[in-house]
Amino acid sequence: MNNQGRPTRPSGGETTRRGTFTGNRALDMEEALIFETGRLDATGVDLEAPAPFASKLGAHARSAAIGLPGLTEPEAVRHYVRLSRNNYAIDAGLYPLGSCTMKHNPRLNEKMARLPGFADLHPLQPISTVQGALELIDALAQALLTLTGMSAVAMSPKAGAHGELCGMMTIKAALAARGEDKTRTVVLVPDSAHGTNPATAALIGLSVRAVPAEADGVVSAEAVEAALAPDVAAIMLTNPNTCGLFERNIVEIADAVHAAGAYFYCDGANFNAVMGKTRPGDLGVDAMHINLHKTFSTPHGGGGPGAGPVVLSARLAPFAPAPSIVGTGDALSLAEHHEGRQAFGRMSAFHGQMGMFVRALAYILSHGGDGLRQASEDAVLSANYVRASLIDLMSAPFGDRPCMHEALFDDRWLKDTGLTTLDFAKAMIDEGYHPMTVYFPLVAHGAMLIEPTESESKASLDLFIMTLRDLAMGALGGERERFVAAPVHAPRRRLDETRAARQPTLRWAKPTPA
């Protein structure tokens, strides 16, 4: 048992719970590691040996064995197909992860990204040979500017957190140009912020000052004014915020921040709620990163890659990092160096996540302006539909009021059941659903954040709602085993995470003979 009385390690002796010779259960299969099934001399790639030649490696040649097993093609295919079947995925079911926007990943995007004219292109080819690539990046950049009402966009950040870093660095560069980077070293951050926000501030030497939200879940202009001082560089706000609420005082907040000589960074993770409904540029935002893998459907890939372009206001535009696309029409080029301009430097090698740009542009072209607005409206409607269908059973920190694209519940409704948010989440797994985001944001105790997205049919939403109602009523009705033992039907039951952290085993090692 762990501290909370849930089984996480075997009570004594291994059990062949499954009762079959292989340990498999029909299509639910166990799969060993490649280090246990592969061989150093096996290969699934036929390569001819080079003709004899005089090596120029000198003393640098690698003679010792590396330790990399190989598999032939049929063995490799089986290995990875079997592994894949142990994963939940958007393609398989509703993925209600709040703040992650698990919408459908269109397959047209995959086909377009694989066109040789995009995929088989080296970033440093002569500019005359990559005009179509620059045209694509520019088209996406223009679309993002239209959607956000901002003046410029830095396309190079490789992920959302990287985009945050880029945006904050741009702000720091703008302050340096005014000679204020040494005096303005504090960033205002609400308690509900995602962990990347304070982590980003700390990375560039800024300290964090918390801004409290009001009882209704949003930040007031008064609270911001109270926290503003000559030492403030910027405020970092997420809008809609991590509680799923639109920061309705945002314009007054932006005005106060600007009047105090500071900048307004907006975390754009929740942009899916407001496409075509409002624009960050109109709200006073100076910099906002966009998660292409959230709002613009590029696939999550089991954890990445993402892409995090940053839209900038006119006052920050001069400080955007290298590279940027310059020129017009048929003669586009790349400005790759920042000397002589005010760009603060470079976020990464090369130009950005081109593979994700193709996918995002295909998504935008497919929807058009009306389609994107419809997507946001459906996302908000679906979240409210789920919220309204559960609010009689589950408690919400800010009462029975509408949300944006995600619905936040807390664990007060569970308090007499002896069950936790985690237990509830694990029971969802047995019902065939990936759990919602849990224990975030920190401002809600035992938070449960549900974001269905616009990709769900009404039938799918209704089944999800009925399932959660069944679970909730079960919990309130005294059911216990269904929750504390969950999940029992997944490929694995609850894992011993304590052991993983106390005795970290981070790679396979050849077992030593007993």
Binding site: L33, G44, Y80, L108, G303, R492
Partner: protein
């Protein structure tokens, strides 16, 4: 619209349940003056046929690397990726799954990460590797920050053989974080005395091998010099296939090994997405950035994998995190791992040998051209030549003749006085005919002095 399942009847029913008169009632918190009451200035939604037409036309304006003799590396390398790799990464369960925060239903991803970490550790000769970073350049910058944390010093010394854009990224992050970054001048001959630049305030030296110019460098004496002053060695590579033929960073006593994994499993993709490799000694792992997959058991005693040591990361430690990184490069790491599994040790060594042979062949041909000097003595699949005429113009003339000849150093370092250098790469995707054609064309161009 083909991606939006709700229809008008659905929406009406849902609004009724919500108790809202219309959809705009749910957007009431947007200040009235800031509501967009007009359509966005974007074209209307397109069918698949229209999107394909538009994007195919854009793609056709580019010269795909595989359509011409191709000799460009400089941090990204064109290799053949077996068809199986791209097929497997497009399986729904790999493509459309999220970060494995619920391990019971993510053992596919987690086991792959555990295998990937083991492969990267083996390849780099280090004890432990993370589940990947965005790319080699950001991995390098993060390694420097880690060295600062471990040594409690703030000065990093960057070799003149480090890829100029990697140095730019490190300098950008270091400058913002108030760290000191010492950049040695670009070093095409691998003749710098980096040991002399290390002092008691140095947290790390960052050395690339094979370096930006292709030189193979012996890192062992540099490691010794660093350790003697209490500093660390960060070893960098941009061509992962080289580790199938050259001594690993771990063998040369590196403390942190970082590099670009794109060469294995991943297309060129005009610069991204790529996959950063990050490996170190076990004793340093708590200061390492990025995700880590670890082994454990479940409640039935079965071997399982889970993300672990998460308290280093942003979602828990917030401003005290080792980095702000959230995503890794999951799907690219998967592609890397599948390709490396298909190759196996024997296949990787064979692939590396083919690469080296191609480069040796091409360097030999250049050596026979009057006025062209091959500067690099020991190299893997990339080397630097000096030309009698400015390199950038030559590369453009070669492009006009349908050959992508390499990188003119002046493109990445415009003010370094190295305008007559080209960094040339030859991988297994170049044929003997390609190489012969390049050498002959270059010779012609130099004879005629650039006239067409």
């Amino acid at each position: 619209m083909r991606y939006l399942p709700l229809d008008a009847a659905d929406r009406a029913q849902m609004l009724a349940r919500v108790g809202a008169p219309d959809i705009d009632a749910l957007f009431a918190d947007i200040p009235a003056a800031k509501r967009l009451n007009r359509p966005l200035d974007l074209p209307g939604g397109m069918s698949e046929i229209e999107v394909e037409r538009r994007l195919t036309r854009m793609a056709a304006r580019n010269v795909a690397a595989g359509s011409v003799p191709f000799f460009l590396g400089a941090g990204a390398y064109r290799h053949h990726v077996p068809a199986t790799v791209d097929h497997l990464i497009q399986r729904s369960e790999f493509l459309t799954s999220y970060t494995p925060y619920q391990p019971e239903i993510a053992q596919g991803t987690l086991q792959v990460l555990f295998e990937f970490q083991t492969q990267v550790a083996a390849l780099t000769g280090m004890e432990v590797a993370n589940a990947s970073m965005y790319d080699g350049s950001t991995a390098c910058a993060e390694a420097i920050l880690m060295a600062h944390r471990l040594t409690r010093r703030r000065k990093a010394v960057l070799s003149g053989g480090l890829h100029p854009q990697y140095s730019d990224v490190a300098a950008t992050l270091g400058g913002m974080a108030d760290e000191e970054i010492v950049r040695l001048p670009l070093d095409p001959h691998a003749s710098e005395d980096i040991a002399a630049a290390i002092d008691d305030e140095t947290s790390c030296v960052v050395v690339q091998s094979p370096d930006f110019f292709g030189n193979l460098r012996d890192l062992e004496p540099i490691a010794a010099a660093a350790h003697a002053k209490g500093a660390l060695l960060v070893a960098v590579f941009t061509e992962a296939v080289s580790l199938g033929a050259v001594r690993s960073p771990g063998e040369m006593a590196a403390d942190i090994a970082v590099g670009e994994g794109q060469s294995i499993g991943n297309a060129l993709n005009f610069g991204g997405p790529y996959v950063g490799l990050f490996a170190t000694r076990l004793k340093n792992v708590r200061q390492a950035p990025g995700r880590l997959a670890g082994e454990t058991v479940d409640a039935d005693g079965r071997r399982s994998f889970v993300l672990t040591l998460s308290t280093r990361e942003q979602h828990i430690r917030r401003e005290k995190a080792t980095s702000n990184i959230c995503t890794n490069s999951g799907l690219c790491a998967l592609a890397f791992s599948i390709h490396l599994t298909l190759l196996g040790e024997a296949g990787l060594r064979r692939l590396a040998a083919l690469n080296h042979a191609a480069a040796v062949d091409l360097a030999g041909r250049f050596g026979a051209i009057p006025g062209v000097d091959v500067l690099t003595e020991a190299f893997f699949n990339e080397f630097t030549i000096r030309t009698p005429r400015p390199a950038a113009a030559l590369i453009d003339e070669l492009a006009a003749r349908g050959i992508v000849g390499g990188l003119p150093v002046s493109r990445l370092a415009p003010n370094a006085g190295l305008d007559d250098l080209i960094v040339v790469a030859a991988t297994e995707t170049s044929t003997p005919d390609d190489r012969r054609s390049y050498a002959e064309t270059l010779a012609q161009l130099l004879q005629t002095g650039g006239k067409r």
